[in-house]
Symmetry: C2
């Protein structure tokens, strides 16, 4: 393997890229053991710390895992949806907060994507998904619930809806859009009236899903989107007037 020591990029970045490309291209397959750090430093003609920095970069992306001990080493990691979720959510959250994305834009994206799952979920949702949604609705109706807990339950409710589509790829892509909204949602104070309205729409949604009524689900989601957007708008207005 050849690394250009005169490149602008760090050696560790170049080495990481080299190994990453090998994984993506299939030259390194899942569970395959990489050469030991000592061997890698020989191959790339760099020191061990530099190799280690490269490996940490890959570990940060869950592309490899390491094991200590005699038969240890770095292994190509089978990237699972479970591992990818949190990274996807972190990235999405930071993208929203660092790029001045308006609540409206984020909300539009979220509900647009979510509504696309509605027909599939109406078709395929299991009793489990329905039960989860009903349970979350119940939680949402409990008095004394903090706004944060209310939002968290809302997210769980909507994830069950998305998971109902029975397509892991959809669930993964949606996770970012739905969960990344939470910090934005947490800026809103939900009055008892607001909650009642949202719960009403959640009930309508669950009912439609139970009846395999795709159009009903879509209608409820459209209602939620407009209600949420308006709620956020009025909160922003109030905050502006105060200032």
């Amino acid at each position: 393997m050849k690394i250009d020591p005169n490149s602008n990029a760090d050696l560790s970045a170049q080495i990481a890229k080299s190994i990453r490309d090998a994984i993506i291209s299939g030259d390194l397959i899942v569970d395959q053991r990489l050469p030991s750090e000592a061997e890698l430093s020989d191959q790339f003609d760099v020191s061990r710390p530099t190799v280690r920095e490269a490996l940490k970069r890959l570990a940060a992306q869950s592309l490899i895992r390491t094991q200590r001990g005699a038969t240890g080493g770095a292994f190509v990691n089978k990237l699972s949806f479970e591992e990818a979720y949190p990274q996807q959510i972190t990235t999405s959250t930071l993208l929203l907060s660092m790029n001045a994305i308006s609540f409206e834009t984020a909300c539009e994206a979220r509900y647009t994507l979510e509504r696309s799952c509605a027909p599939l979920s109406a078709l395929r949702r299991t009793a489990d998904h329905l039960a989860t949604m009903r349970a979350e609705i119940h939680r949402q109706s409990q008095p004394g619930l903090t706004d944060e807990a209310f939002c968290a339950s809302d997210v769980a409710f909507h994830r069950a809806l998305v998971d109902g589509a029975g397509n892991p790829v959809l669930s993964y892509q949606l996770a970012g859009a739905v969960e990344a909204m939470q910090p934005l949602m947490n800026m809103i104070t939900f009055s008892a009236l607001d909650r009642a309205k949202i719960i009403e729409l959640h009930n309508a949604l669950a009912d439609a899903l139970e009846a395999n009524n795709a159009i009903g689900v879509d209608t409820a989601l459209a209602g939620l989107e407009s209600y949420t957007t308006n709620l956020a708008k009025s909160v922003m207005e109030k905050r502006k007037n105060k200032a």
Copy 2:
């Protein structure tokens, strides 16, 4: 800052998590300079290489950038959509290839998400988006185009459609779903007849978009999905019979 040296996790992983949490929570804001590596090793009571490994983990996620020189150091990076795209695509691609996701499942997710953008794109697409799509259609009709180039053009075409929705969050989420399909698509050989049919549907799609006809766009996308799925199915069949 406190780090538990008896934890199961690596020190560098703990330090990375600590800094990452500070960024997510807003304790560290964009463009803020982190303490120097020497200061961090003092604060966390670890050696400099360990701190460096932690910083490389964060750099791999584009959460920080580093600068050499007198006023250099590590700075909280403003995560841009441009930076996040490749990571999103890499992760999505690996998820598909490592988790035995069927072509059908991936295709369903892709077109489900894409169809959700159709109404917005029909409403908001600019002349630029249309021009890009027409140009890609033209490229696709050129004889002698390799299958890979055909697929790449297909991706560019569909990205223009998605971008037409004018929602950067949607564009970001869709990028993973659309681009990650490319390796799967590249396994298919497109006959001249197949290409003609696809180009026909692309034309219908562009026409509908030009006429701000959301239903027409959706119909064309549905046609593309079923055609692509059937094409893949027949390819798999042939391959099975050979073996």
